[in-house]
Structure formats: C-alpha cells, structure tokens
C-alpha cells in the first residue's frame, strides 16, 4: 500500500472532511433512475481505470440539450489501469449547472469536490464527438462512484450509502447480484483496495 503511505493528503482530506464539513459533506439528495445491479466483479470487469481519487474542480457545459460536467480528479491511489498516483484524470458525468440552469440526470454519479471516492472508470463509447477528448465516464453511473469517509475511529472506510439508482436484478440471473455498494460498504479503504487489486489481477488473467 505504498500509495496509502504516500497519500497523507488523502488522510488529511478525509479527516478534515469528517471534522469540519460533516453537515454539508454528508448531506445529499437521492437521485435515481433505474438500472441493473452490478456486483464488484461486474464493475471491475467493465472498467478500464480503477482509482481512489479526489475531485478537485469541475466545469459544466451544454452538449446539445444536455448539461454535462467535466470533473478533474486527482489520483491518490491507482488500483488498476494505466494511471499513477499524483496524476489527474477528467471524468464526464451527465448533469450540472450552467448560468442559472441546473440539470439532473437521476442516477448519474455525483463527484463532490474534495471528497475522496473509489472510482470505477472507463472510456466514453466511441463516436461521441461532442465530449472532451480523453475524458472518462463512471462505470455503472452512480454504482461506480463510492464515497470514502473517516469515522470516529479515524479509519477511512467506503461509506454505506443508498445507491443513487433504483436497482433491479439482471433478467434471467439464477441468483440476484449483490450490488457493489453493499458489498464494499463499511470496508476499511486499505482492505477494499487490496480486494479490488486482487479482482483486477484476476480480470487480467481471464
């Protein structure tokens, strides 16, 4: 876990957010649409980049009739994919606010500024000429963006949070998939990172 040792800023950010901003940072609207539940394995399999990152800035703009937001994320811990700690990446999400007009696409991932998150990311589908070149999208929309917080025990954990999507099991599945947010909720970040690295490695062997 070299990145964790190196990542004192993350711990500091987490602790500061817990101490200073709990009222504002923990509050949230529940937005939702309808999606098929993805397991942790599903998210890993569908992603090209997997990181613990901290959203640092964002800009929203109109793309056709939609508002989209580009968020610059500082990578704290690289779990999978060709990214390194200290680098940044740009994540495109649907919705945002421009000149007094707001737009919510219910169920899209929310990336609050300065709030660390485990992010499952992948490239935008080919053919999106309007989107910013090189930007990534969150796999599974809100399912692929898991907030991290420091509890009273000062341990960074993946936050139990209601997934922003109305989830349904995949049609025809023999057993319902346990959504990733439920599987990972409450896990200490180092433990979760280790498990995700293991899954990432297993994916590479498939």
């Amino acid at each position: 876990m070299a990145p964790l040792r190196r990542s004192f800023p993350l711990v500091a950010t987490l602790f500061a957010s817990a101490v200073l901003g709990s009222a504002a940072l923990l509050s949230a609207p529940a937005h939702a649409s309808t999606a098929i539940a993805l397991s942790v394995e599903d998210l890993v399999d569908r992603s090209e980049v997997l990181v613990v990152g901290v959203p640092k800035s964002r800009v929203s703009r109109w793309e056709g009739g939609r508002i989209v937001t580009y968020t610059t994320v500082a990578i704290d811990t690289a779990i999978g994919g060709a990214k390194k700690p200290g680098e940044t990446l740009v994540v495109r999400t649907l919705g945002g606010q421009v000149d007094g007009i707001g737009q919510i696409t219910h169920g899209e991932a929310q990336l609050p500024i300065d709030r660390p998150m485990v992010l499952f990311l992948r490239a935008l589908p080919a053919g999106n000429a309007k989107a910013m070149v090189g930007s990534l999208t969150v796999t599974g929309m809100a399912q692929g963006a898991l907030p991290v917080e420091v509890g009273t025990d000062k341990v960074a954990r993946i936050t139990p949070h209601p997934v922003d999507l109305a989830l349904v099991p995949k049609a025809g599945a023999a057993t319902p998939v346990k959504p990733a947010a439920e599987t990972l909720a409450g896990k200490a970040l180092p433990v979760a990172v280790t498990e995700l690295r293991t899954l990432w490695a297993a994916r590479a062997k498939k």
Binding site: S27, A32, R58, I101, P125, L167
Partner: protein, 319 residues
Amino acid sequence: MRRSELVLLASFTLGLLTTRDAFAWCRTTTTQGFVPTSEKPCDDTGIPLYWSTRCVGFSVQRDASRWIDLATTRSVAQKSFDAWKNSSCPADPVSCTGSFDQGHPSIEVKDLGPVSCDCVEYNGKVGNANTIVFRDLAWTECDGTPKSDADTTLALTTVTFNTETGEIYDADMEVNTANNPITTDDPPGRVLYDFQSILTHEAGHFLGLAHTNLPQPTDKTKTPTMYARYEQREVYMRDLSNDDVCAICAAYPPNRSAPCDTTPRRGLALECGGGDPETTTKSGCGCMVLGQKPSGLDAVIVGATCLLGLGVVARRRRR
C-alpha cells in the same frame, strides 16, 4: 440504570425512530454533487425542486416502441402519473401523520399528445416537451451518440430546473427497450420488468421526488414506489405507499395556489429544438402550438425558423 433514565432513553430512541420515519421520503434539490449517505440520505442544503403550476404536460415520442405501442404507452404513462395525482393527503405530510383525507396533491400531469422529438433536451429560447422516449435499437442520444452503460440502464429521468428557485423547467424520461425485456402485462400475465412500475417510479422523479430513506417493509407489497430497488416480476410499485403520498403532498399541498397550465416552458415543441440555449434559435425549430410564445426577437427568429427550416429539424425525426 434507574427507571427514570430508562424511560428517558426509551423516549429518546422512540423519538429518533419517529423522526426517521417522518423524513423517510426525500425531495430532489438544487444541490450539485452531493452523495447520499445512510446517515443523511436527504439533502437539506439545497432548494427542493417543484413544478410551479398545478398542471403539467407530458408527451410520448410518437414512434413509441416496437415492444410497447403508442396507445399503450400513453395509457400506462397516464396511469403512472395519475397514481400520484389521486393520492389522498394526510393532515401532516411532513410527519406523515393524521388521517389521509385532506384532499389531493395540487399537481396533475396530463397527456399533451405525441411529439416527434426523441431528444432529451432543454431549449432555453424555444419550446419544450416533457418527453417519454424509448431507446429501441440502441441506447444512444438522439443524434446517435452512444451512451455508456447501455446494457445496464432501464430508464433515465433528466430534470432541468432553475438553480435559484428550484422551479422545474423540463423533465424527460428515456426507457431502454433495446437491452431489457420491459413488459406491460398485468399479473398473472408475463411480467418481467414492469413498465408501469418503472414509469410510476420515474414519475416521482419527474415531479421532483428523490428516493425514500424508508427501509423495505417485511410485507414487500407495501414497499414505497420511491424505494431504491425494484424486484423483477413484481408490480407492487405501481401503487403508492403512505410514504410516497406524504412526499407528493408535502411537495404539492392540496391548498397550494397555482395556475393550471400544462404548457411546457416557452410552449409545446412538437419537434426538437436543438437543445443548447445559446444556439437553439439557429439550429432547430421549436414550433409552438400551445401556450405562450417567446416575445420580441425570439418570436421573430422562431417564426422564421419554423417557416423556413422544418427540414432542418426533420433530420432529428425518427424515420
């Protein structure tokens, strides 16, 4: 522990539980970028979203779906919206207590007829439509741009609003029939992903509601429609729970004074308007057939565009 302390503790615990139930439902707000947590699933920092009129229009994209025809779609959509309209409000919707006989919520969603536009868009300078559109062949934007997560998304609702007031300007729903077996059967027919359940849930979002914080009841048929889980092959989310009723009644109290005007913002657009508020008057035509029209230069531009440029927007029509 002394008896008085026990009583105090019990009272405190009961109070917490009561408060949690009272605020189980949540409304969507103007806040950007917050993530719900189990500790605080409802945002209380932003302004709740709402429709300013008592009546709101919706329009089904005229091609509907090869799986669900236009007439069925319109019928199911109306039923879904009517479920919210026909609620009987309690005396206190915030605490969700009192007898549920205080009248209906002051919101009604009416079918304005089909439209051609299959885009999710908000037009800042020309007309709009609150559209229900199917993605039958592929989960793409209306211009063909592919979407992420095509195979895992059943439906998306996009709501456009004023960030200062929370007033909703536009709401569009997309239903992904390209990748999912969405059915309209009533039990005991073949029910897979139930269309009416999906639309009733999405209608809640259309009206400015977010997911409820209430845990799923043991009797799952009492699960709130705004609960964040669907169960395949079930239809119980077609019917609202008390929690849903309290939410809609708190958002739109029966005694609210508001005009009944179903006209979408800046008029009903039968065709796509091009979207981007900065360029809509140049890229498309929002031909208004109902309600107010934009004034001044906007009206001139729109009129000219409608007369001269129908072919421009026809490119956005489905064939």
